[in-house]
């Protein structure tokens, strides 16, 4: 066994670090560290920076703009990106839709949609969940009926992340009621500027606007926007979900968050000593650090299996459960570290150009909202309970 990276991999790691050191504006890194979203313009500008470097879509095939990196190199890139607190490209188009198009889309669809992702023409969002269809996705009711060269779509999607910025949505729609529920679902690309599409904000418990409800009333979608075959969308949707989960170990983001937590706790006083010297708090931090070291190796073991030709299957469910629990725990520790200063609710202090007096330690205003916001990690992307069901079934065969 050898846990070290090869010299080439180490060199690659340095190349990635150097890129971020030179190209990532510190103000953006700060925003990411504090869990505060970027504006649409900032996000697009950063994605353009990555595109210029050729690193926007490492996992795509080289002929479409990918880098041809090995699984280990991709892992290193993800890790270093998180450690640098670099904004991540919005996953819906690049990481979710693109693999589906590459595998199931027509040549024409690939040639049309993939370059538009790269040059920033389209911002994609994911239209899977509905009020009655969350964990039980196949219960979805949004309907598409063929009418000449169009589908006519009626229904509602919900929890649509950043739908307020998107001009395109890939949606699962029902096209057939006969047979198994999974067999009547189609995968449709819908232009959100079409008549009949309405986006309404959902405010989350941290007071933020990140998710939306989307209503479709007689929305006409050209049949050319159907991916693959009609009624076969479930297969494509499930293929996409495995992509969603593998990135959720969040080793890099937890590592960065833990480092920040320690610097925060070192500056907080408890009983005349730094909080980091408080035995109970120190034990909590140590536990998180140990979990993280363990998770890092667990994640690498999955990567190594993939590099050796295996496919990430139910193992990605393990990474998702552990990774999200750990990230949540670190955010809970940051809240704990603030003591009484976890209470003030000052969203305006997180805005650029805020020149009021902060309350408590620097960046305190971000901590409780981020803790609240990150409760989502164990709910979306297949809830952690659903991941455990998958593990029970696929690995344990129970």
């Amino acid at each position: 066994m050898d846990l070290s990276f090869t010299p080439d991999e180490e060199a690659f790691r340095h190349e990635v670090r150097a890129f971020y050191a030179g190209s990532l504006p510190p103000s953006l890194a700060d925003r990411i560290r504090l869990g505060h979203g970027l504006t649409k313009d900032e996000q697009e500008a950063w994605q353009a920076t990555l595109a210029r470097r050729g690193w926007l879509v490492p996992h795509w095939p080289v002929e479409w703009g990918g880098t041809g990196w090995s699984a280990v190199e991709r892992y290193i890139f993800d890790l270093e990106s998180s450690l640098a607190n670099a904004p991540r490209p919005i996953a819906f188009g690049f990481n979710m839709l693109a693999p589906v198009l590459l595998k199931y889309g027509s040549e024409e669809q690939k040639r049309h949609w993939l370059p538009r992702m790269l040059d920033g023409s389209d911002w994609w969002c994911q239209g899977y969940s509905e009020p009655g269809a969350g964990s039980d996705l196949a219960a979805l009711k949004t309907r598409a009926v063929r009418d000449g060269d169009d589908y006519v779509v009626n229904g509602q999607k919900t929890w649509t992340t950043l739908g307020q910025h998107a001009n395109m949505i890939f949606a699962l729609v029902r096209t057939n009621d006969t047979g198994r529920r999974q067999e009547g679902i189609s995968f449709l690309l819908i232009d959100m500027t079409s008549p009949g599409v309405e986006v309404r904000p959902i405010i989350t418990l941290d007071g933020d606007h990140e998710v939306n409800e989307i209503f479709f009333t007689d929305v006409r979608v050209p049949v050319g926007n159907l991916v693959g075959e009609q009624d076969r969308g479930w297969t494509y949707a499930k293929y996409l979900l495995t992509y969603e989960r593998t990135s959720m170990a969040a080793v890099g983001s937890s590592t960065a968050a833990l480092a920040w937590l320690k610097s925060l706790a070192a500056k907080q006083q408890r009983g005349g000593k730094p909080l980091l010297d408080d035995p109970l708090f120190a034990a909590r931090v140590a536990r998180a650090e140990i979990e993280l070291a363990n998770l890092s190796t667990t994640a690498l073991r999955v990567v190594a299996a993939v590099a050796g030709g295996g496919a990430p299957g139910a193992e990605s469910s393990m990474l998702k459960v552990k990774g999200t629990e750990l990230r949540q725990e670190i955010s809970a520790l940051a809240r704990r570290a603030l003591g009484p200063f976890a209470q003030p609710f000052l969203p305006e202090a997180l805005e650029d150009g805020f020149n009021g007096e902060p309350v408590g330690p620097p960046d305190a205003a971000a901590v409780t909202p981020q803790y609240l916001n990150l409760r989502k990690l164990s709910i979306f992307g297949g809830s952690n309970e659903i991941q455990k069901n998958i593990i029970s079934k696929m690995i344990l065969q129970l």
Binding site: D136, I202, R270, G272, G339, A342, S378
Partner: protein, 375 residues
């Protein structure tokens, strides 16, 4: 042995529960937090008329309650309604004044609901250490001059007076040498900068920049404030724990209801044994927490070390359980549990924030251990 509240307390709980259900809206809490004072003064007056404030004080202080179980009954009802009103401030300030003595007029005004006094003790660098007082009071002829700052002080904007702790001798962290002063909010040199809190309500950063007060502003005996502060905080700890019990019951019921009604995979999600066990575990923890609060209420009027130990035991238990209940409730609600629109999430946030008031889980666990060694 009798685990029932007395008839008087049961009546108080009933009256209060009915009033809260009819007059206060849990969702109004977040809205009210946007502007000072952060609560509805008319509702506060009604609480006073109902005698609820009087129930927090003993007959010697002009009230008709004041025992541990009186505080428990009142605050549990407040928690169940997510009421935003200066109850905790009033309890803390009133109890400290009562312990220090000689302030019957102010306590009477508190009970009548005509005056709010904010308890301005906590400081920025203190963590949860009650002895950490860096604010100083110095004599200038017959006057006192106060300089320093206080952090996250609830209800300071709407108050008539602030009860400020300041050091008249000794060093930061010393038990002795802390005195209490009543400071009018309009005193020159006093700066109160208010803001909303995550769980509704408002607090403020308070700065005292050479605030000059007459000799009569000193409460009780010079240098003797620590005991009064401890007395106030003891009652405050019990109050927070009882409030959490009320909030936990609401969150529990809402989650149970959701497990029974939310359909996925053709059945209520509560049909999944995995979720049944999660809910069963919560129920056990909540009952344990109730016992902890009963222990603390029974100990409040008893001797020092045992009282403080039971209070820390309760606050530790509530800190841990409250957070657990809040996090589990959100998780079991799925996406809906992440929304502002759902009342449950506001109760959950209140539970989380109770762990940041008067000492968190770790603080009280360590304190319990230290008190046990000293016993």
């Amino acid at each position: 042995m009798d685990f029932n509240h007395t008839d008087d307390r049961r009546m108080l709980a009933d009256t209060l529960g009915r009033f809260i259900a009819g007059q206060t809206d849990p969702m109004a809490r977040a809205e009210a937090a946007k502007t000072a004072p952060g609560y509805d003064p008319a509702v506060w007056t009604r609480f006073a008329e109902l005698g609820v404030i009087g129930a927090l004080f003993g007959p010697d202080d002009g009230g008709f309650g004041g025992g541990g179980f009186d505080i428990m009954v009142v605050f549990e009802a407040l928690g169940a309604g997510l009421v935003q009103a200066p109850f905790l401030s009033t309890l803390l300030a009133g109890r400290a004044l009562a312990a220090a003595g000689g302030r019957a007029d102010e306590i009477e005004a508190l009970i009548a609901g005509t005056m709010v006094i904010a308890f301005a003790h906590q400081e920025g660098g203190a963590g949860y250490d009650l002895d950490h007082v860096a604010t100083r009071a110095e004599r200038n002829g017959n006057d006192w001059v106060l300089t320093g700052s206080k952090s996250v002080i609830a209800d300071a904007e709407g108050a008539t007076l602030l009860l400020v702790s300041a050091r008249t001798s000794g060093e930061v962290g010393d038990r002795d040498g802390v005195s209490l002063f009543l400071v009018p909010v309009q005193a020159s040199g006093l700066d109160v900068r208010g803001y909303p809190c995550v769980d509704g309500g408002r607090a403020a950063e308070v700065r005292l920049d050479g605030v000059t007060l007459p000799a009569t502003a000193l409460v009780g005996t010079e240098g003797d404030g620590t005991g009064s502060i401890a007395d106030a905080v003891a009652a405050g700890l019990l109050a927070l724990c009882a409030e959490a019990l009320g909030a936990m019951a609401v969150v529990r019921d809402a989650t149970l209801d959701y497990l029974r009604t939310r359909m996925q995979f053709g059945e209520a999600i509560g049909r999944n044994q995995a979720l049944q066990h999660r809910m069963a575990a919560l129920l056990i923890e909540i009952e344990q927490a109730r016992s902890a609060v009963i222990n603390a209420a029974a100990a409040l009027d008893g001797p020092g070390n045992a009282r403080e130990r039971m209070l820390s035991a309760a606050k530790y238990t509530i800190g841990r359980t409250g957070t657990l209940v809040a996090e589990e409730a959100i998780q079991l609600h799925g996406g809906i549990g992440m929304t502002w629109e759902l009342p449950m999430t506001h109760f959950a946030k209140r539970l989380m924030m109770i762990d940041h008031q008067l000492g968190d889980e770790d603080h009280h666990l360590a304190r319990y251990a230290a008190l046990s060694r000293a016993a």
